[in-house]
């Protein structure tokens, strides 16, 4: 026989709770012991060995059952923890329930400002489109940083790109949600994330074009037109959901400023034209920019100042 069948022998069962795991442990123990008993010796009186066998069996059975019991508890705890983890993922599931045509429609809509601001406009609370747009922006930023030979000192290219884009999306959304809460606007956090995320579509288009075609004027045109359209759309939607002139002004002014300035920052902090500006405006006193490790925020401040000066000069 050698442990071929596993008929459950009720008389040797201790008081189990009936869980199959303990049965398995018990049966495993029994089979191992049977093999051991057979291996040890055929000699031995039947009854005596039976009695001894039962006695040892009882003891070993108890130990085996306790071990199996413990393992069952640990397994159950791990399973419930894993289940709660999956349940957390399921919390996000309704926000990813979209069709490709819907995503395409919303992408195009994000560039079209709405006219009707007296009636609260509907915002789709979905997270798939915004998340994909943020990742696309990260990829485009990476491309821009590579082509402009940006050297980042205390960090990595990828880390900076991800940090910038996700930081903007999550941080500005939270800040705007907080402002909206102060100004009594009718908007939820998911809707704010969605609105701002779809507003990044304009940024993606602008940066994709201007990282490859390096014309100053082209960038400014794109900044005003494309950035302006997506800002107008977001502003109009927010205005339609807010009551009161001061509140509308605060919300929309902040959003417009942050949105447009972010596009400006993305273009100038990571773009080849930095060298061009500094060379033409500061003259040959400024050291060439190419291979110097720099801290991005300090430079971008200087760049913003020179940009403002350039705009003032041209206007």
């Amino acid at each position: 026989q050698g442990g071929g069948s596993a008929v459950i022998d009720m008389e040797n069962m201790d008081d189990t709770s009936g869980s199959s795991f303990e049965d398995m442990g018990e049966m495993h123990q029994r089979m191992k012991e049977e093999e051991e008993e057979e291996a040890e010796g055929e000699a031995g009186a039947g009854e005596e060995e039976d009695g001894e066998f039962l006695g040892m069996k009882g003891l070993r059975g108890q130990l085996g059952r306790q071990v199996a019991d413990q393992m069952w508890q640990v397994g159950k705890r791990q399973a419930s923890r894993a289940f709660s983890l999956y349940a957390n993922i399921d919390i996000l599931r309704p926000y990813f329930d979209v069709e490709p045509v819907q995503v395409r429609a919303r992408l195009l809509e994000s560039m079209i400002p709405v006219k009707m601001i007296n009636f609260p406009q509907k915002i789709a609370g979905e997270l798939y489109g915004p998340l994909m747009l943020v990742f696309t922006l990260v990829a485009i930023l990476l491309h821009g940083m590579k082509t402009s030979d940006t050297i980042i000192r205390e960090g990595t290219l990828m880390g900076t790109a991800i940090g910038t884009c996700f930081g903007y999306w999550l941080g500005v959304s939270s800040f705007m949600y907080f402002l909206a809460y102060l100004c009594n606007a009718q908007i939820t956090m998911v809707q704010m994330l969605s609105l701002l995320g779809y507003g990044l579509f304009g940024h993606c288009i602008t940066l994709l074009v201007t990282y490859n075609i390096h014309f100053h004027s082209l960038f400014y045109i794109f900044w005003l037109v494309v950035g302006g359209l997506s800002t107008l759309r977001m502003v109009a939607v927010l205005v339609s959901r807010t009551v009161g002139h001061t509140q509308r002004l605060i919300l929309c002014g902040t959003l417009a400023a942050l949105h447009m300035l972010f596009l400006l920052y993305l273009h100038f902090a990571y773009h080849k034209v930095v060298e061009g500006i500094l060379d033409t405006l500061e003259g040959p006193n400024m050291p060439p920019f190419q291979r110097v490790a720099r801290d991005i925020p300090v430079v971008s401040n200087a760049v913003l100042n020179t940009t403002a000066k350039a705009i003032a000069l041209t206007l």
């Binding site: 596993a6 696309t136 980042i152 990595t156 990828m158």
Partner: protein, 217 residues
């Protein structure tokens, strides 16, 4: 129960079976036997499994072998070799240059995890590690492209070499995306395949971009 009216068991078919539950007594023996086997056997078995999966990626047919017994050895080897080959990129200072080793690692694994979560949230039927396995194995064409790029860069860094590298990396990128789509898109509802394919496309695009812009110093 009106639905059960036509269910009948003919009298001459005996209903038989076994009450004893086959516990699979061979399984404890098998456990012990794989513990007792020589290390060479274990390694060869795992290597053969990994090799079979590489062949599946080379010729992406709709087979389920890649999905059924997933393992992460192949992705680990590919990831490490890609990260090693991307070292020593263009840099003047020691601070930074091409992507660091940890960067490539993090991009690949974090990107794969994000794609997996995305496909699960969109209603996919594939499990977490199966998806990681497929995405990791489909990095293989890009690793081959990296090897070819390094060899081409040994010859020179002119426009011709750039065009050659562009073509090679582009072809391998398309192959990677198609291979992983062939495995992963089947587990999605049919009208949402595009939603799953786009992040995969972006993921392999970023890796291809890192490969293409690699210039040794």
């Amino acid at each position: 129960f009106p639905g059960l009216a036509d269910v009948s068991i003919s009298q001459d078919i005996p209903v038989e079976g076994e009450i004893t539950v086959p516990v699979g007594s061979h399984s404890p023996d098998e456990d012990y036997s794989t513990l007792d086997e020589p290390v060479k056997d274990t390694i060869m078995r795992d290597l053969k499994a990994v090799g079979k999966k590489f062949v599946h990626v080379m010729y992406p047919k709709k087979s389920s072998a890649l999905l059924r017994d997933w393992d992460l050895w192949g992705p680990l080897v590919l990831c490490v070799s890609l990260a090693l080959m991307l070292q020593g990129g263009s840099a003047d200072s020691k601070d930074d240059g091409g992507p660091q080793f940890a960067e490539v690692f993090v991009i690949i694994w974090f990107g794969a995890v994000v794609i997996t979560l995305n496909s699960k949230l969109l209603g996919g039927t594939i499990s977490f590690f199966q998806s990681l396995c497929v995405l990791g194995y489909c990095v293989m064409p890009l690793t081959v492209a990296m090897l070819v790029c390094r060899l081409v860069l040994l010859a020179g860094t002119g426009t011709v070499s750039f065009i050659v590298r562009l073509v090679v990396v582009g072809a391998m990128f398309a192959w990677s995306t198609l291979a992983s789509t062939a495995f992963l898109a089947d587990s999605q509802p049919p009208n949402r395949k595009a939603l799953v394919v786009y992040p995969i496309f972006l993921f392999y695009f970023v890796i291809s971009w890192m490969i293409l812009t690699f210039t040794p110093q």
